[in-house]
Symmetry: C2
Subunit: 329 residues, 2 copies
């Protein structure tokens, strides 16, 4: 690039006090106003962090090495940066911001790093877990809109660990998916499948994120839960999970995902259910009525909350593709 084309301020003699405004100045050439705003806030926060902590060169190098190790351990079946985001509460926060829920709808929670795109499509009634030592559990749910109308044809991803607390992808030599499936709600908005009772498990803690948790004296456990993801044109994507009430880790989830409204008590299948769904009478039963928000409801709420947050920060902003950018004339 021809340096004479660079219309930036003279970057020289940068100090603790003037480096931030100068980085902003050179980044202000960015033609994408959303990216420019993201970078402006990011650089401000990173610099303030260093100034407020008087970050030492040794600590900086420790952070560089930590982030490098986080990247290095990522693979097709392990996403350590998502794990890092999860354990610092960022994942829960971003989901809450991006998927606001009216009180009548099902709350969201963290996606986690174990969703895959290779789960098999299963008819209602399908067996999603083939772990013989798991306790069988019939899962019987409905999915409706906020007015109480059943929604048919919703694509539902479900995934859970085996009875040892491990997802299929955590086993070397995995040849096919297990403990996961893709279902579709029927005309009554009903979907059901045969799974196993979820168990608590530690998030992968043999890597850099596990070391960080150890230094913080935090345990790596998640309470027993089953993941659900709902997709249908016209409805806001819902990433959520159901948690077993009374789990020992119910109030200390390593990734901050538990919500009161997502806690369930397991029931047992009565004679009629046993016959209808072909399970043992008295076997474990998990039921839940999910409520999806329409895209337009979610968009309206998201934008209203975004502008409210911007106002409370005293920033003059406008929305661009639903996301705030500075409102400069």
């Amino acid at each position: 690039m021809d340096p004479s084309q660079v219309s930036v301020p003279l970057l020289k003699d940068l100090t603790i006090d003037n480096i931030t405004e100068n980085v902003h100045a050179i980044n202000s050439q960015c033609p994408d106003s959303r990216l420019k705003y993201l970078l402006e806030r990011l650089v401000s926060h990173v610099h303030d962090f260093a100034r407020e902590t008087r970050l030492s060169t040794n600590e900086w190098m420790t952070a560089i090495n930590f982030l490098t190790a986080v990247g290095k351990i990522c693979s097709d079946v392990r996403q350590e940066f998502i794990l890092l985001s999860d354990v610092i509460g960022l994942s829960l926060l971003v989901d809450s911001i991006d998927h606001p829920k009216p009180s009548s709808s099902t709350e969201g929670t963290v996606l986690g790093p174990f969703h895959t795109h290779d789960a098999e499509t299963t008819d209602n009634g399908g067996v999603i877990s083939h772990d013989p030592t798991g306790t069988p559990c019939l899962v019987l749910c409905t999915v409706k809109d906020t007015s109480g109308n059943p929604i048919s044809g919703v694509k539902i991803d479900v995934w859970e660990t085996d009875s040892k607390g491990k997802y299929d992808v955590q086993y070397e030599g995995r040849t096919q998916p297990d403990g996961r499936a893709v279902l579709e709600s029927d005309n009554e908005g009903v979907f059901w499948f045969k799974a196993i009772v979820p168990v608590p498990y530690p998030i992968p803690h043999d890597g850099p994120v596990g070391k960080l948790l150890m230094l913080l004296k935090r345990h790596p456990y998640r309470p027993s839960h089953m993941h659900f993801m709902f997709e249908k044109e016209g409805f806001d994507h819902l990433i959520t999970a159901l948690y077993l009430r009374g789990d020992p880790y119910e109030t200390s989830d390593a990734v901050f995902g538990v919500k009161e409204t997502l806690l369930v008590d397991l029931g047992s299948a009565d004679a009629e259910q046993a016959r209808k769904y072909e399970v043992e009478e008295g076997g474990k039963l998990m039921t839940y009525d999910f409520v999806l928000v329409s895209d337009s409801e979610a968009k309206e709420l998201r934008e209203k909350e975004a502008m409210k947050a911007m106002e409370s920060l005293g920033r003059k902003m406008k929305l661009y593709q639903g996301l705030p950018i500075p409102d400069v004339d």
Copy 2:
């Protein structure tokens, strides 16, 4: 870990508004008060960043993928996280905080990702670059303390690119170091060596950091410079560089390293110098008088500036191993 041993608040129903205080609460079990403070500030800034930008799930995933790519491209000879830190001005900031300089001493600047630990020890007068197409340059310097006394026995690391703007480690199949050496100052605090005239070069921009610079419409160039690092017991580590005045990128360095006091004009060797240092008369000559700060001067200044910064932030802090931590009774 036995969950009954976890003395944390009940983490449930976490929202945009209460997630931060709850993450702080669970991290507050950390026995290392400096790490606890670093995490507290880090989590606050990361969360505020997400709240202030209303970070979307898509943007979050883009960031996760970006950081993963930054980690993946790191190798024994490439440190993309340092590069990222450099281009957002963090490296310059951390160096300024950790190595404060009294006005009588030589300023520091960014280390960059190309220092290695395998440079050969060279006697004064040694040839550090074997690039036949480089323009030979005699480098003749002194190193003194802030009272003007020469310092002997200082270990000096120097490194520069070849005439094509590439460091040795950027070539595949590198078998031995070149364009770098470790020297020692003599009894008069003098050190000299035979190098080549530095040239401008782009930082590695074929990776994720290069892509970011392109999105920001920033060029990846650094002005011509030669790196120097000084180490001697009792003196604050000095990481610095000399820049050629008048370089086309003098005021738009991609990593914000240029300082007025570190700009040099190349001279030419006179007849006596040519004879004494065994170079061609009229050949390029770079001279500089470096001034090191003693450990105790640096420590005093660092701690004074840290406490001043904490006071201006209104934080009640104390120093622990020279770094601020909250002063809680």
